[in-house]
């Protein structure tokens, strides 16, 4: 006599403490084991692509910040590189170096939020606040250069809005010197904590073939064992002048491609970013940052796809221009939008608590998912 059990649909609704924003996960549960996950998105769809068709090229930049609001510099860089290729502008060396420094600082800040909220999801609330404490220092650096903490409108087409603050270099060196011990402290507080490893190792294992088939990019792909980073494989800006290596998931605590690997790849990436910043600051040339900014921006007819390695993965802009001053169409390939599709594959057969662990390791930002 088998007991008739039926599945329960649990709505991890748009307002849930740990869904990183407004994402609704419809879980079909058999007891506590998950049989199906249907993500419902669109709760933060802010019509970015409609705005691109109406605004002129420079006016679109503040809207790109508001897509992935944790990595605003990366969004601007992607868009601006695309338009500069359309226009065929060559940007002075100093601008390239400053853009690399800003993008890498933004990567550290974004990874700090990702790691902090991941710790808070698993239950350890203190690392979240330590990460935010270090992030405040980076926000101060951004604030002294371009006046804003989170959304900057700093990287313009052909240059930058402001030059660096006189003691920016000194403050950055100070930050790097103080950040290294903090990273070590974070490691033994959270990364190698026995309970944290139990909760994340062998949870949500992502094999490499499914990752490539699902178009996963960024730390998630590298955690599954593939050394694929746009800064090295499809080099843009001046990343070829720096030597840094790409951390890859090694399955130290479980199998390759589990949640712990995705988390640990982000921690290692922060160390790589520090190396890049140190080298970039050492070789920082001087010059005028606003010299190459064109007065009139009317790119020729055509379409281009420019892509950048954002903290969450490959951010691509497909810009179609019809020769007027405002883009005809801008389609954004947002990394979180693509990475979120894998939730159903990863969460099958896990418990409810694991869904939170997996969602935290996938690290999505809803502004980018819904655009």
């Amino acid at each position: 006599m088998s007991i008739k059990t039926e599945e329960m649909v649990l709505n991890m609704g748009p307002q849930h403490p740990s869904t990183h924003g407004v994402l609704r996960l419809e879980l079909t549960l058999d007891g506590e084991i998950i049989t199906k996950v249907v993500p419902h998105i669109g709760y933060l769809h802010r019509c970015f692509e409609k705005h691109c068709e109406v605004m002129t090229y420079p006016q679109v930049i503040p809207y790109t910040d508001r897509m992935d609001y944790l990595a605003a510099m990366g969004n601007e860089l992607g868009y601006v590189i695309g338009v500069e290729k359309l226009l065929g502008i060559q940007v002075p060396e100093r601008v390239e170096y400053i853009r690399v420094i800003m993008a890498e600082l933004q990567r550290i800040a974004s990874h700090l939020v990702a790691i902090g909220t991941y710790g808070a999801d698993i239950g350890a609330f203190t690392p979240f606040l330590y990460c935010f404490r270090d992030r405040e220092r980076i926000l101060n650096l951004f604030e002294i250069t371009c006046g804003a903490r989170l959304l900057y409108n700093y990287i313009w087409i052909g240059g930058l809005s402001h030059d660096l603050h006189p003691d920016f270099v000194r403050l950055t060196k100070e930050f790097i010197r103080e950040f290294k011990p903090n990273l070590k402290e974070l490691n033994n507080l959270l990364t190698f904590n026995k309970i944290f490893i139990d909760r994340t190792a062998n949870v949500g294992i992502l094999p490499l073939e499914t990752a490539i088939n699902f178009g996963i990019t960024g730390p998630m792909l590298r955690a599954s064992g593939l050394k694929w980073d746009l800064r090295k494989d499809d080099t843009y800006s001046v990343y070829d002048k720096f030597d840094f290596e790409i951390p890859v998931g090694s399955g130290k605590m479980g199998t390759v491609g589990d949640s712990w690997d995705r988390y640990y790849v982000r921690v290692l990436e922060m160390e790589e970013s520090i190396k890049i910043i140190e080298q970039a600051i050492a070789q920082l040339p001087d010059g005028d940052v606003t010299s190459a900014i064109p007065k009139k921006i009317k790119p020729p007819v055509g379409h281009i796809y420019s892509r950048v390695e954002n903290p969450r993965g490959e951010l691509g802009y497909f810009i179609v221009s019809d020769g007027s001053t405002s883009p005809f169409r801008v389609k954004v390939r947002a990394p979180s939008f693509v990475n979120l599709q894998i939730m159903d594959e990863l969460c099958r057969g896990h418990l409810v608590a694991d869904v939170i662990a997996i969602l935290g390791s996938v690290d999505i930002v809803l502004g980018e998912v819904d655009r």
Binding site: C47, E49, G215, H303, I304, Y305, F318, R329, K331
Partner: protein, 176 residues
Amino acid sequence: MKSFEEISELLKNNFSDIQFEFHPEAKFEPYILVPANKIDTVCLFLRDNNDLYFDSLINLSAVDDFNGNKIKDPQGNEIMQGGTMSIYYHLESIKFRHKLLVKVIVDRDNPSVNSVTSIWNCANWHEREAFDLFGINFNNHPDLRRILMPYDWEFGHPLKKDYQNPEFYQGMRVPY
């Protein structure tokens, strides 16, 4: 690492019946034009051929070309008749590190094209977004419904150039 010409050669002698249009002269990205109903067979070949091996679809974007003739509809706001929409498939092979852009042109009034979700799972949500914002329906797509707009949004597809904002949606005023 295959150049654009070699890929075109390979495609030409494999699919002699399909007439492609090759555009190597497009300045930034040379692309291949494929007819709408043949896209899935071509993509399957592009993925499974082991010296092309396009195993990853980077991006699928729909563009409303808005090149029909403008007419006035009864309420006085002008809508577009005829014209075309184009869909761009950016493919990439991680093994050989080469990229390819495939373009499909569908007519604007009732755009329909075969879905490539069975080939690359990544296309699932991209196609649902193209359907949601442009109204392009993809044949034999696993579950084609709106993804970004509310599921009961019956005021048309917002990203079309001649889209009109509704006055009210469930008791809330939409325009400012």
